[in-house]
Amino acid sequence: MPEEKKSQICIVTVTGRDRVGIIARLATAMARANINIVDVNQKIMEDCFVMTMAADIGEATMDIGQIKKQLDRIGRQMALKITIQDESLFKAMHRV
């Protein structure tokens, strides 16, 4: 029987001015780190780009601290605010 894959879902948020290539840039970085994108929600509010992404880092090639550093770098380059937090936090806070 194949070994069950472990899963750790994190929520990535991105806010900033809308521009071409934000999702492409993030998706490329995540694919390189073997992170599976599970769900994406995005909208444009006025000129502001707002996105949440559920990403599975269970099989990633780096730990959450390193992933955060990568995302921070992309955030600086593209003038975006990016956060990453484990999904269980949101479940604890928003589901009784």
């Binding site: 929520i11 948020t13 769900d39 929600n41 909208k43 707002v50 949440t52 559920a54 730990d63 959450i64 601290g65 955060k68 605010k81 956060t83 990453i84 937090q85 484990d86 999904e87 269980s88 936090l89 949101f90 479940k91 604890a92 806070m93 928003h94 589901r95």
Partner: protein, 453 residues
């Protein structure tokens, strides 16, 4: 059901915009098994345990900080009341001071900013070892950086130990004069009904009813609560209470999640979540500003006590729903020096020492971090303490006092303590002395409330 975008951004906004953080994770460490007649052996055993567990605490807290993206601002240790550890040792102040310095060294090695527990429970009477420890407090706390002291001087079941209260007035004066601006006194809290599992400094200790290790967590979000209150400027107070309750539920859940996971990683028991609203000097992270956002003109003006009572009632209800392990102090901290709204209120004359005392009768956990002139007589300091502790004893709640007599300061001046401790306007104290009352000594009997069996 997946979390909605709005819910995600509500959480993200709490940390990014409103200073929500885990204020402290405090590991309680039992040291009773280290008690020995040889001070060297006691120090060796104690230091080993503190350094090992302190380093582990820092390591695991940093890992969870990254996982959840919520800052864990302080990592601290509380220990068994030190007076117990000193019981079999020679009754010399130098013994207590040497032990305090050894604890300080261990805390520094483990990179723990404050270690609490240098104190004693003397609400009914004082043993020879406890008297020795109390005598050693000025030297021990002024010659160490990271050690915090506490004394429990009263309880609802025992009454108030006025011998100890009278002595502490002198101890606080002595401690104040050994440090710049009296700041050493920021490391000493005296209590009525001290909790055994309080994670907040300076009053934390690992109580005698606690297990070998216990991880207690203090959450804090005055900024988050202020923001929801400000977003609801026109709703009635019943609705406002509801809004606060929901918000506190959320932040308490975050605290409970992180606390449990941290305890699991460290393989220690999870203790409690302390839901106290603890302000910092950062703009917006103020309890006084919540009260003002509720519609009170200035903290300390009429209406403040009612507003604070409503606020903390809502905080407790939201917190109790979120966690089955709410404990510690779980009241409000309104330290004058550490809350920009409180500083403003005192400076503008809206908040006096008398009103501050009134606020503690409903929910605040004491007169905290307020400055008085350095020449305030010890008997007046003792009288302020006796008043505050009697509120705790009669209302069956915790109250504490952390007072800083600032040498050379006059009422109206402002003194800067620096860092987390902020700055405090020097408050006016009554010119009428109650020295004769304090000098009577003895024990104020426990109230009739104590006879419950």
């Amino acid at each position: 059901m997946r979390i909605s975008v709005e819910e995600v951004f509500e959480t993200v906004g709490m940390t990014l915009d409103h200073h929500f953080d885990i204020r402290t994770v405090t590991l309680g460490i039992n040291l009773k098994d280290c008690i020995d007649r040889d001070l060297g052996w006691l120090i060796k055993q104690t230091q080993g345990r503190i350094v090992e567990k302190g380093q582990l605490l820092n390591h695991c807290a940093t890992a969870l900080e990254q996982k959840y993206g919520i800052p864990i601002t302080n990592r601290r240790i509380s220990v068994t009341p030190v007076s117990l550890l000193l019981e079999p040792l020679p009754r010399k102040t130098i013994t207590a001071v040497r032990f305090a310095k050894a604890l300080d060294t261990a805390a520094r090695k483990a990179d723990i900013d404050f270690l609490g527990g240098f104190g004693a429970l003397v609400h009914k009477g004082v043993t020879a070892a406890e008297a020795n420890l109390i005598d050693a407090i000025p030297e021990a706390l002024s010659e160490t950086q990271r050690i915090c002291g506490f004394l429990n001087l009263a309880s609802t079941t025992a009454g108030i130990n006025m011998d100890a209260v009278a002595k502490v007035g002198h101890i606080i004066r002595d401690l104040a004069h050994r440090s710049e601006n009296g700041v050493g006194c920021a490391k000493l809290a005296v209590f009525a009904n001290v909790p055994e599992d309080n994670p907040f400094m300076a009053g934390a200790h690992h109580g005698i009813g606690e297990p070998d290790f216990s991880l207690n967590i203090g959450i804090s979000g005055p900024g988050v609560v202020r923001s929801v209150v400000a977003q609801n400027p026109d709703c009635d107070l019943t609705q406002l209470s509801e809004v606060i309750k929901r918000t506190v539920f959320k932040i308490t859940r975050a605290g409970e999640l992180i606390g449990r996971e941290l305890a699991g990683l460290m393989k220690v028991d999870f203790g409690i979540v302390d839901i106290s609203l603890a302000p910092t000097t950062v703009t917006g992270d103020s309890v006084a500003e919540i009260i003002e956002a509720m519609g009170v003109g200035r903290m300390g003006s009429p209406g403040s006590t009612a507003a604070l009572a409503l606020l903390i009632d809502a905080v407790k209800k939201g917190g109790a729903m979120a966690s089955g392990n709410v404990g510690g102090l779980s009241g409000t901290f309104i330290p004058v020096s550490e809350d920009t709204g409180m500083i403003r209120a005192v400076r503008s004359g809206a908040l006096s020492l008398d009103k501050l005392e009134a606020l503690t009768s409903v929910c605040s956990v004491g007169l905290d971090m307020f400055a008085v002139p350095g020449d305030t007589p010890p008997e007046i300091i003792s009288s302020i303490i006796a008043d505050e502790l009697s509120i705790g004893v009669v209302n069956n709640k915790t109250t504490g006092v952390r007072v800083v007599p600032v040498p050379g300061a006059k009422p109206g001046g402002i003194v800067h303590f620096g860092g987390l401790l902020g700055s405090a306007p020097v408050m006016k104290v009554s010119k009428y002395s109650s020295a004769k009352f304090i000098q009577r000594r003895g024990r104020v009997p426990s109230p009739i409330l104590a006879l419950r069996n």
